[in-house]
Amino acid sequence: MAIAETRLIFKHIDSPGYTNDIDCYIKNGGYTTLRKAITMKTAEIISEVKASGLRGRGGAGFPTGVKWGFIDPSKNTKPVYLICNADESEPGTFKDRQIIHKDPHQLIEGMIISCFANNVKLAYLYIRGEFPEGAKILERACDEARQKNLLGKNILGTGYDLEIYIHRGAGAYICGEETGLIESLEGKRAYPRIKPPYFPAVLGLYMCPTIVNNVETLCNVIHILQMGGANFAKLGKPNNTGTRVLCVSGDVVKPGYYEFEVGALTLGQLIYDVCGGIKNGKKLKAIIPGGSSAKVLKAGERYKIKQKQADGTMADVEIALEDIPMDFDTMAAVGSMAGSGGVIVMDETRSMPDCLANISEFYAHESCGQCTPCREGSLWMKKITSRIRDGKASVEDVGVLKNVADNIAGRTICAFGEACSWPVQSFVTKFKEEFETVAGNGAKK
C-alpha cells in the first residue's frame, strides 16, 4: 500500500499539461501570493515565516525565520543581499533541479517575496554549472516576470525595486557551502570563509548582510504566506514542520522524488511502500538517509532514542531502522542526519568498501584544499579506501582510516570536513568486519 504524498512544493511537477512558462504558472494561481505579500508589512512576513517553523532544506536544517531575523534592516546601513542556493550537488539529492526545470516560477516568486520581506534590492540565484538548461529556463522565467512587472523596477506599482540575476557555477561542489558560494560569486576560488567572523548575516556578499537559502526553502515561503505560518506549522511535527521532498536512489524498485509531511512516514515505509522495496528481491544492507555526507544506517540496527509521547513527556524508546520517522530530529537522534533529503539505498550484494571508496573519491575530488585536515585527509582517505576495496590493504589500514577521519571532523574551516569524514567513520565502524576482510582480499563487485 502506498502512503499518500502531500505535494506542496511538487504540486504541479509532472502533472499532465503543466508547463514551465509564466502563463501556465499564473493560470494555476501563481504570483497571487506575491501580490498579497507586497501589501503586507515586511515584519509581518518575517513573523509568519518564524511562526511556520520552516527549517532550511539545504542540508543544515537551520530555522529560516531565525536566519532572517539576524538581519535587522532598521539597524544596518549596508544593503542586504539574498542568494538562492541552487548548487544542488550533494550526491543523492535531485529535487531542486526538478523545481528549476519544471516549475521555475515557483522559485522566482518565492525569491521575490523573500527579498521583499528582507528589503533586498539585488539578489542572485547561484545555479550549478552543470545545469545549463536550468539556467536558461530561469533566465527566461526572470524575463517573463520582468515583462509582467513582477520583477525589476517598481514592482506592481509599489515602488519596490528588485533585480535577480542568474549566476552559473562551474563544477565545484564546495560552492554549495554558503560562504564558499559567496566567495565564488565574488569571482574567487570557492574557499569557504572562517566563521567567526564571516557569518553571512553580518559579513556576507561584498561584506554586507546576506541571506542564503536553498531552492526548496524559498519555495516554501509562498506556501507559508498562502496558508499562514500557524497552519503551515501544523504540517509535519513540532520543530519539524511542513513537507519535505525525499529523493530516493540506489537499489529500490521505484527510485524517485516524493513529497511528504516531515516525519509523516518512516524510513521503512519510504523504502518498502513508496519505493516498492529492494530491487530484484534482494535484502537491504545499508541506507544513507540524507545525502552522501550523512552517516550510514545499517540494516538490522536498533536505536535507543528519546521520544516525545502523546502527553508531552519524553520517554526512552528503542526503534528499528525501518521505524525511523523521516524528520530532522529523529534522524539526528539515531546518529545521522536528514540533510538534503537524499536517500541512497544499498542492497545485500553491495560491497561497503566499494561504496565508501566511491564516496571518498568524491570528497577527495571536491575538497577545496584550503585547510590542512580536509585537503590532506580527504585524499588520504580516498587512497586508503581504494586500497581496501582492491584488497591491497591490511587490517591496520582500517584503523588508520577511521583515525584519519577522526582527525578531520570538527577541525576544519567548513562543514565539508564532517561531510567527508562522517561516511568514513560510520561505514568503517558499522561494517568493520567486512572492511577488515576485504582489506586483504579485495571487494567482490
Binding site: I194, G369, Q370, K383, R411
Partner: protein, 555 residues
Amino acid sequence: MSCACKNPFNHDIATENTPMVNVQIDGEWVQVPKGMNIVAAAERFSKFIPHYCYHPKLSVVGNCRMCLIEMGTPKMDANRQPILAADGKPEIAWMPRPQIGCATQVSEGMGIRTESPLVQECRKGVMEFLLINHPLDCPICDQAGECKLQEYSFEHGQSNSRFIEEKVTKPKNVDIGERIVLDDERCIMCSRCIRFSKEFANDDVLGFTQRGSHTTLAVYPGKRLDNNYSLNTVDICPVGALTSKDFRFKMRVWFLKETKSICTGCATGCNVLVGSRENEVHRLTPRENEEVNSLWMCDQGRLGFHEIHEDNRLTTPLINGIKSDWSSALTQIAQQLHGFKPEQIAIIASARMTNEELFLLSGLRKALGGEAVLCDVIERLGQADGILRSADLNPNSNGAKLLGIANPGKLNEIRSGVSNGSIQALLIFNENANEAGLSIESLKKTALVINVGMRLNGAAHFNLPSSSFAEKRGTMINGKGRLQRLNRAIAAPDQARDDWEIIRDLKAAMGGGNGIHTVEEAFKAMAAVIPAFKDLTMSKVGDLGVELTLSSVQS
C-alpha cells in the same frame, strides 16, 4: 602605539585605550586587551600557540588549523549574568569543539586551554597531515633550522609515519622571480606569501592553482614575483618553499651570528639583523620595529651588503698608490694640510656616515679653518614607493644637516673651485668623487687629494681604507627624525678602520687631541654640544632607537 609603516593589519597591537578583559588561560586568570586575537594574547603570557598561516601583520584566513585551542565563554544565568564559581571567577562553559586561536578574539570571562589533551591531539593530527605529502629531506632543505614544520613536528608530531601511499608530486625548483625560487612540494599552502604580496607589496602576482590536495602555489605564466619586497615572502614562509637565490644553500642558518643594526640603503633606516660568519656578511633580514619598518624591508636594501665583500676593497693606506701604514700616512697628510689656507681646502663628506663621524669631522673642519673650509655631502635621490623606501637614498641626511656637514649649494662651489684651481686640498669621505661630478683630470690638477673610503680613488694622493656599515658602530637619524644605532657585525678587513678613528687621529696628528677613545665618548661629546641629543647616550638609543623632535633636528 602607532605604526610608521602601513601594515594592513596589526593583530598584535592594541590601541591605547582598549579596555582590558579578564581571561582564563590554562587555568590562570589574566588581563588582556579586549578583542585581541588569542594567539597574540596568549603570547603575552609566554603561552606559545603554534601557528602557520596566522601572521600578525596580514589578514587572518585560518587555513592551517595548527592553532586549534579549547575555548569557553562564561556560563550565564537566567538574567544573562555570569554564574560565579567558588573563587568568585566566572564558571566557563567549554565548547565541545576546538576553535582556532588566530581568528578568535578575547572577551570578558573567556576561558582558553592551550595545552589540554584535546589541543595536543589536534596539533598532532594537523602536523601529520602537513607532513604526509611533504618531502622528508630536511637535511638538504635550505630552511632547515628556521623551518616551523621541522620545529613543530619535533614538539607536536609523531615519530613514525603511518602514511604509506604515494605522495602528491608538484613542481620543484620553480624560478618565480629574479630573486626567488619556489619548491611547491614543500609549500603548506598557508597563503602568507600571497597575502603579503597583495596586502603589503600591492603586487597581486601569487595565487593558488588546481585544488584539493593538488593545490599549487604559482605565478601566472610570464609574470614574476619581482617587486622590491619579494624577499620578505622568504622570511614569512614558514617552511622552505620560498628561498632566496642570494642566500640559498650558501650557509646553514645556525652558523650565523646575528647582529642588530639598521639598513643604510635609504633614509627609512629599516631595522635589520646582520647575519654573518667569520667576518663575512651572508644576509640581512628585517628586525621588528613598529615605528619604522614593522617586520619588513625592501630587496634593494637587503641585498645592498654585497658591496662590502666585492673584490676591490681598499684595505691598506696608500700614499701615491704605494702601500704604507697609518702613522706615516696621517703624519704626511697633517704636514701637507698645514700648507693650505682654509679657502683652499674643501671637504666632501657623506650622508652615509654616522653622527659620530660627522661630529668629529666638523671638529676637524674647525681645525682646518672652520666655515671658510667648504664642506658638503652628495645628495642621492630616488623615488619613494609609498611603502617603505624613501626618496632620500642617504641614511643620515638629517644627521649631516644637524651637524653642519651638509651645506646645500656648497658642493657646486667645491666643484667649480676644484676645476678652476682655487681649491687645492680636497678631503673626500666615503664618496665617489666622480659621482660628485669631479673629473679625474680636475682632481689630478689638485695639489692634495685625500680619499677616505672602501674603494680606491686613482687620482688621490692618499687613500685611507675605512669600514663599511656592517663593520662599525654609531648612530644615524632617519628621514622621520628617529635616532638609531648601527652595530658592528664583522671586523673591518685588514687595516681598514672606522671613519671616526681616522678623523680623530688625523686631527690629533694636526696637533689637536680630543681624548675620545670610543664611539660612546664621541657620542657623549656630541650630546654635550648638540641640543637634539641632550641627555642621550648610545645605550639610551637602544635597539629600537628614539624619536628626536624634528624641530631640534632641523634647527
